[in-house]
Structures are given as C-alpha cells and as structure tokens.
C-alpha cells in the first residue's frame, strides 16, 4: 500500500515509516498538512491509498488536512487515519468522524494495533464512511474550533510544564557545574585538560601552582610537556624561584567539548622523592654498616681461632712439660731395675749350664724384654723431652746425608735403591743437629720398613718460597704456625705400601703403630713431629698417587 504519513516531529515520521515499511508498504512523509496536500496534488498524488496524520501541526493541522482531502475530488477516497498522542477525548473522535476520517489511533500504538486498524479500514471500504458535507456545517466548525482551542490550551499547559521542567534541569545543571568547578578548583592534585594538539583547555589552580603559571595565560597555551598515555611520568619543573619540583603526571583519555582530549592529573612528589632518596641513602649506609660488621665479625672469629690455637698450644706445652718431667723421673726409676736385671741375666748366662737350650732361649727372651722396656723408656723420654733445642748453624744437606749413612744397611738389606738429589745448596740454619738426625733416621727406617721386598727411596732437598706452596694440611693445622718466606724442603718418597687412608690423620699420635707390638713403641712419628714443631717447622705425610708415601719436611732457613 502506498501511504503518506504526516507529522511535524521528524522522529515520529521516521519511526512510523520504518514500522510500515516492514510490512512492505510504500511510505512517503510530510512535515505538515500543507506539505502533504501538495504531495497529494502533484504527480505522486494519485497513487496514495492511505494518509496517516498527526493532529497538531504548524501551517495546516490534521483536521484541516482531512477536510481538504475529503473536499478534493481527486483524492477524496484516500483512507484517512488520525494518529495523535495527546489530549484525546470522545469529542475528538466525534470530530474526526464528522470531517470524514476513517480511524483514530492513539499514540503510542504498537505496530500490530496499527496494522489491525489499517486492515479493518480496507475491509470496511468506504461503506460506512460518512459522506462529508460539501460545506462545513456550523456544528463541525464549532466542534473543530472548540477542539483546537482545547488542544492549544493543553499544549500551552504542557509547554509551561516543559519550561518549568527545563528550568529545573538547568538549575540542577548549574549546581552540578558549580560542584564540578568547586571540586576542580579545590582538589589538591593538579588537573589539566589538553586537546589532541597539546593545548591547555582547562587548568585548575593546583596545576597552575605546580607549573607556576598565572591564570590569565594558562588556557589555550601549549602545555609543553610530552604526553604519554598510561604509565605515570615524572616531570622536572623549574619554578620562577629557581626551585625544582618533581611532578608525577598520569594521563587518561577523555572528551572535551565533544572532541577527544587528554586529562592529565598531576601531583607534587618532590617530598616523596626526597624521602625515597633519603631512604635509599639510609639503605646504602645500612648495607655498608652490615658489611663492616661482617668484616669485624670475620676478624673477630679469626682472632678467636688464633686465640684458641694459642691456648691449645699453651695447654699442649704445659702438658708436654709435665709429661717430660714425669717421663724423666719414670725413666730413671725404671732403668735402674732394668740395669740390675741385665746384670743378672749376664751372670746367669755364665753360671747356668748352657747345654740346656731352653735356658739359653729364656735368657735371650729376657735380654730382648729388657731391650724393649729400655727402648720404650728412651722413646718416651725423646717424645716428652723438655730439653730445649741445642741450636747451632748447620748444613741441612749434611745432616740428611749423615742420617742416611747411619741407616744405609737397612736399605741394602732390603735391596732398596737410593736416589738422592741434595745438590741444591741450602743456607746454613740454626738447627739441632742430633734431634734432626733422629728425625731423618726415623723417617728413613719407616720408609725402609714400608718396602720389605725392595723398592726405591727418593730424597730431595730444595728451597721454596712458602707463599707459592700449596699445602694439603687441613685448615686447623695450617693456621697454627704459619711460616712465611723461604723454607728448606726435604722430600722423602718411597715406593712402598703407603698409608691406609683411615690412618693418615693418626700417624702422629703417640703410641699409634701399625707394627706388631715387639717391633715398635708407636712413638717414632710423634717424636719426629715434636722435633719439627720445636723447630717451628712443618711436616706432612701423604700417599703418592702412584703408590708409596711422601714425607715433606719444611724448616725455616
């Protein structure tokens, strides 16, 4: 159906048009009665089958339009529907009927209602339509003006109401604007609104204060700081008094007068910055103090270790002195009876029949027993010797050689090859010749006994600077007496069975022995260690990777 809709409200027209078009009607629209009449009388005119018109419109209202349509021969048969939202009562309907309208629909009407009405009209055709009087009757005119006046009154009232409402809204708006201003003016943080080119659109007093700007030239000025969205940035602002202020800026996107803009919130963080810096400085200081304290603690614990070591040595020395005194007393008291037994054996050997083998055997056993007891006493004396060293300038190489000469038969007996490298001249040093001879003899005999079926003894002496020397001594021992500077090194290596790992840290213990009871007192290496210690030297014994043991003696020279 081709429909003309008439309404002075454009939005109403659009809405109605859309609704009708959905039902495949061809819809045209006009803004008032006069325009509609024009359209009906032009070339488009003859096709219209229905007019849907508002009542109150400027220039020509709906009633007038209806009358004009019905009065026009060419278009008088077009269906006419009045469609009005306001001020309707039964008199409106009567008037509508009288002027020849086919239906009266009250706004707002759903499309279903509208379509229902339209279809009904089509069915009823023009049958029921009241033919319009050719001339407006007085009654119609009266009704018409009455309706119109009433409608205008109502419209007036409505407009007054509208004006009151608007005034109210305006008031509210004003108050809201006032509050907004108030907030913007009073807020402690700086607020600046910038357009997309970076011109200031709004700046609050807090921001002015931050940037040190006067009110009159703040707005529409270039902001002059880079604007980065999202993350906060720190701005260094130099004030007119020369002071630097650090400002934290956060940017958010916003709208200003309908256009995209930036909202910058600004905060003076100079103090916070200062506090942070102070905190950082305090932190650094604290760290340094902790570091210092750690150092002090380290040196304290080192001193403590040293002290412990010294104490250990003092106790050790006191113990040794006591043991020394005891040992020499015991030695004297034991040796005298041993001397008597020895003489007694000698006498019995002469006096008793030597034909009896058991007698001879017994006497031999007794001699051996006396020798053993004597050796133990002697070793004990050596070990505990409270005697001070008898130091005199000595050639260490000569002492080594001399000691070797004294036990050479022990090596020959076992077919042990001796390889000496004593060619490096060692400076003369204050040493106890006899005690060191005892040391080397002890070590040589140990080496010989470690190679019962032959092997090789390697002896080497040389000078070394101790700082270059890697020591295998455990820390506990190496803190104790730390010689510096050049030392004479005497290396004694054998190709024997070496030392069992579990015994390595026991070998210097008094009475520790791996030999059978009859063979040794277990004091040999203790005496060696003691003599070396008395010389303020060092001794290490370890296994060689290829087998056998290696003894390193270090003596200050």
């Amino acid at each position: 159906m081709k429909i003309l809709i008439v309404d002075d409200e454009k939005q109403n027209l659009k809405l109605l048009q859309k609704q009708l078009e959905r039902f495949d009607h061809k819809v045209f629209s006009a803004g008032n009665g006069a325009q509609a009449l024009d359209m009906l009388q032009t070339s488009q005119g003859p096709g219209f089958e229905m007019i849907i018109s508002d009542i109150l419109m400027p220039i020509m209202d709906g009633y007038q339009l209806c009358r004009a349509v019905r009065g026009n021969e060419k278009i008088k048969d077009v269906f006419f529907v009045l469609y009005s939202g306001t001020y309707i009562d039964t008199k409106d309907k009567i008037l509508a009927d009288k002027i020849g309208a086919d239906a009266f629909i009250q706004k707002p009407a759903g499309i279903d209602e509208l379509m229902g009405v339209i279809n009904k009209i089509k069915q009823d055709q023009k049958a029921k339509r009241t033919p319009m009087e050719p001339d407006p009757q007085a009654e119609i005119l009266k009704l018409y003006s009455e309706r119109l006046v009433q409608k205008l009154e109502k419209k007036m009232l409505e407009l007054q109401d509208e004006v009151a409402k608007r005034q109210d809204v305006e008031q509210k708006l004003l108050r809201s604007k006032e509050s907004f201003r108030n907030i913007v003016e009073k807020v402690v943080d700086g607020i600046v609104v910038l357009d997309h080119k970076g011109y200031i659109k709004l700046i609050n007093p807090a921001a002015r204060l931050l940037f040190d700007r006067k009110a009159e030239f703040a707005e529409d000025e270039l902001f002059g700081f880079p604007v980065c969205k999202g993350e906060s940035t720190e701005l260094d602002v130099i004030r007119s008094d020369g002071n630097k202020v650090i400002v934290e800026m956060r940017i958010a996107q916003t709208q200003w007068e309908g256009k995209g803009a930036y909202l910058a919130s600004l905060r003076d963080i100079t103090k916070r910055h200062e506090q942070t810096t102070e905190l950082m400085m305090a932190n650094i200081k604290l760290k340094a103090e902790i570091e210092e304290r750690k150092k002090v603690q380290a040196s304290l614990s080192e001193a403590y270790l040293k002290l412990k070591d010294t104490q250990f040595q003092l106790i050790q020395a006191a113990k040794m002195e006591l043991v020394g005194r005891l040992a020499s007393g015991v030695a004297h008291e034991v040796k005298n009876p041993l001397a008597i037994i020895m003489q007694g054996i000698d006498y019995l050997a002469q006096a008793v029949s030597t034909d009896d083998e058991n007698v001879t055997q017994t006497l031999n056993f007794m001699v051996n027993a006396v020798d053993r007891a004597d050796t133990i006493v002697k070793d004990l004396l050596d070990f505990s010797s409270a005697k001070p060293l008898e130091l005199s300038p000595q050639n260490l190489n000569a002492i080594v050689e001399e000691s070797l000469m004294l036990v050479k038969h022990e090596f020959e007996r076992r077919h042990i090859e001796i390889d000496t490298d004593l060619n490096h001249p060692l400076p003369c040093a204050a040493l106890d010749r006899n005690k060191l001879k005892q040391v080397f003899i002890n070590l040589f005999i140990n080496a010989a006994e470690a190679m019962p079926t032959g092997g090789k003894l390697i002896i080497k002496t040389y000078i070394q600077n101790l700082s270059n020397l890697k020591s295998d001594l455990p820390a506990k021992i190496s803190t104790y007496s730390k010689p510096r500077g050049p030392v004479a090194i005497i290396e004694i290596k054998d190709t024997g069975m070496g030392i069992e790992a579990k015994n390595l840290d026991k070998i210097f213990n008094p009475f520790f022995t791996t030999r059978l009871r009859e063979e040794g007192t277990g004091l040999g290496l203790s005496i060696v260690k003691r003599i070396i210690d008395m010389h303020d030297g060092r001794i290490e014994i370890k296994n060689r990777p290829k087998g056998g043991a290696k003894v390193i003696v270090m003596l200050k020279v």
């Binding site: 004297h332 001397a339 020895m342 006498y347 002697k378």
Partner: protein
C-alpha cells in the same frame, strides 16, 4: 800384672753386687762397691782403684760432686772415671761423649760385655 781394681759407687746395692760378681767372674778384676755416696771419697782413698764407675743420681751426694772432689785430690785425680747412669739414653751416651763433667758416660741398663769393653778401653 795383677787384677785391675775397680770401685763402683751406686746407691743400688743389688746393682753394685751384680756388677761386682760379673766382673770378678772374668778373673781380671778386683771390685769394691760403695752404696753410700758420702763414703765414696774415703773408699777411693783406701782402695786406690785403677778405675771408678760412678752413678750420677744418688741421695746425699751426686756422682758429679764425687767426680769433682776426686779430681781435686792429688793422689786420686788421675784415676779414670766413667759415669754409669740411668739419666742418659744409650744414644745420648754414644753420640755425645763426655756430656757429664767431661767424662765418658754409659747408660743403664748395660751388658757386662759392653761394660768390660769400655773399661778395657779406658785402662789402655
């Protein structure tokens, strides 16, 4: 030549006796023993030994003191003296001859054989 006269001064009476019988058994020596150190000097004067064996540590008087006194006596000062003592070890005695009063020193215990060797060397 008759038997060599040897004086042994030692507070251990048993030791003195044992040495005496062992030396005399050889038939070479006539041995007198004195276990009281204070009597040593008079024993020496009376016995006029060819050699004196002195213990060192004794009650009343040390062997070293007796040695000094003998050295000071005109008639006795040439008599060889040997210390036989438990205060030195055999090694010390061997390596450091004359460690006591510049006299030869022997360590207890000692075999008769060794003692005789020393005595003989000193009497040569």
């Amino acid at each position: 030549m008759g038997k060599k006269k040897i004086l042994i001064v030692d507070d251990e009476k048993t030791f003195c006796w044992m040495v005496k019988i062992n030396l005399e058994k050889t038939g070479e020596y006539e041995v007198k023993t004195e276990s009281k150190s204070r009597m040593a000097l008079s024993a020496a004067r009376e016995f006029k030994p060819d050699l004196i064996i002195l213990d060192v540590v004794m009650p009343d008087m040390y062997g070293t003191e007796i040695c000094k006194k003998i050295s000071q006596e005109k008639d006795l000062k040439d008599i060889p003296i040997v210390f036989l003592t438990a205060i030195v070890t055999e090694a010390e005695a061997e390596f450091q001859e004359g460690i006591i009063e510049g006299r030869p020193t022997l360590a207890k215990p000692i075999t008769t054989e060794k003692l005789i060797t020393h005595i003989e060397r000193m009497l040569e």
